[in-house]
């Protein structure tokens, strides 16, 4: 009844939430457990009358009042010819940080790579994950075999399960300079192991890895307008 007689100034509420327009998701994204936990802790605090510091995320041990989980919007690369025999998977990871208005206030950025359950157990022991920062993309496209210039960030031997990477410096730089955000280059290398390949004829393990791989970026930001020092607010 209210809606029929009164047009709510929707943009006011959207602006309040930090949005430009009404989101129209096809489906709601899964909520990671850490966000659920923070939310539950806050609800418990509210119910008990406690007044926690809203600008500190106790569960993560960092300052901040906005938590975002950004899905990976990148794509796999399928080079016609493997650049080197050991390359199993290549993917560009891309996270759109344009929605972040709190310039220069990133307090935590954690990249999570979920490789799926026991993805590599039959691949053999010689396995390595390499994560690089794309500095100069060479015109991305599915036919592009490799990124242009990359800066190696980290390599992980024997990667399994969920891997977390601290990308605070990188994300803070992307937030300050959006043009620098050309994504990350992920490559999983596997040593050709004839025995293990022969024992896993049923399915290409690299294809299975491509299906199970899930990447996301958890970002915590601090809005200086809402998180002023207490003496300033007084």
């Amino acid at each position: 009844t209210l809606g029929q007689t009164f047009q709510f100034p929707r943009y006011v509420f959207l602006q309040f939430l930090g949005l430009d327009k009404v989101p129209s998701p096809q489906k709601l994204q899964p909520v990671p457990s850490i966000l659920k936990k923070v939310l539950q802790d806050r609800e418990v605090a509210a119910a008990t009358g406690a007044s926690p510091d809203l600008c500190y995320v106790r569960e993560l041990g960092v300052r901040g009042n906005v938590l975002r989980l950004l899905p990976d919007q990148g794509f796999f690369l399928y080079p016609k010819k493997r650049p080197h025999a050991s390359s199993c998977l290549q993917k560009v990871l891309y996270f759109n940080l344009s929605a972040i208005k709190e310039q220069g206030q990133v307090t935590m950025a954690r990249l999570s790579l979920d490789l799926g359950p026991s993805s590599y157990s039959h691949l053999g022991p010689e396995l390595e994950l390499a994560l690089s920062l794309v500095q100069e993309p060479r015109g991305w496209g599915r036919s592009t075999p490799r990124p242009g210039k990359v800066l190696a960030l980290q390599s992980v031997p024997w990667p399994q399960g969920v891997l977390n990477f601290n990308l605070l410096e990188v994300a803070a730089d992307w937030t300050r300079n959006p043009q620098k955000n050309s994504g990350l280059f992920l490559e999983i290398l596997v040593k050709e192991d004839r025995d293990s390949r022969e024992s896993s004829q049923l399915e290409d393990p690299c294809a299975r890895l491509r299906r199970s791989l899930h990447a996301s970026l958890l970002l915590v930001t601090l809005d200086p307008e809402q998180c002023r020092p207490s003496w300033k607010r007084r």
Binding site: L2, G3, F8, L67
Partner: protein, 113 residues
Amino acid sequence: AAVPAPQASCKHLCHRHQLFINFRDRGWHKWIIDPKGFMANYCHGDCPFSLTTSLNSSNYAFLQALMHAADPDVPQAVCIPTRLSPISMLYQDNDDNVILRHYEDMVVDECGC
């Protein structure tokens, strides 16, 4: 000057009223993941001079009620939130980002004059 005590029944006195904001009613449940709504409440009611001392009133409300009683051109003291609490909201934006943000002063806990 003598101040006449106005007649005010208890239910018209300043106090907190329940107000539930249901996001489904507004169609926002499609992108607000949690909560589904929240009890925001609101303050409403009279702040008569005779009761300003017992209605969680500020000193200023007491004086304004006093002045109103003496001079009706001075507006009555008003019933306002005196204690508010925050809520956290989990929602999804147009880039499919899942966002948890805390908003201060969203729930009226107490009212006063």
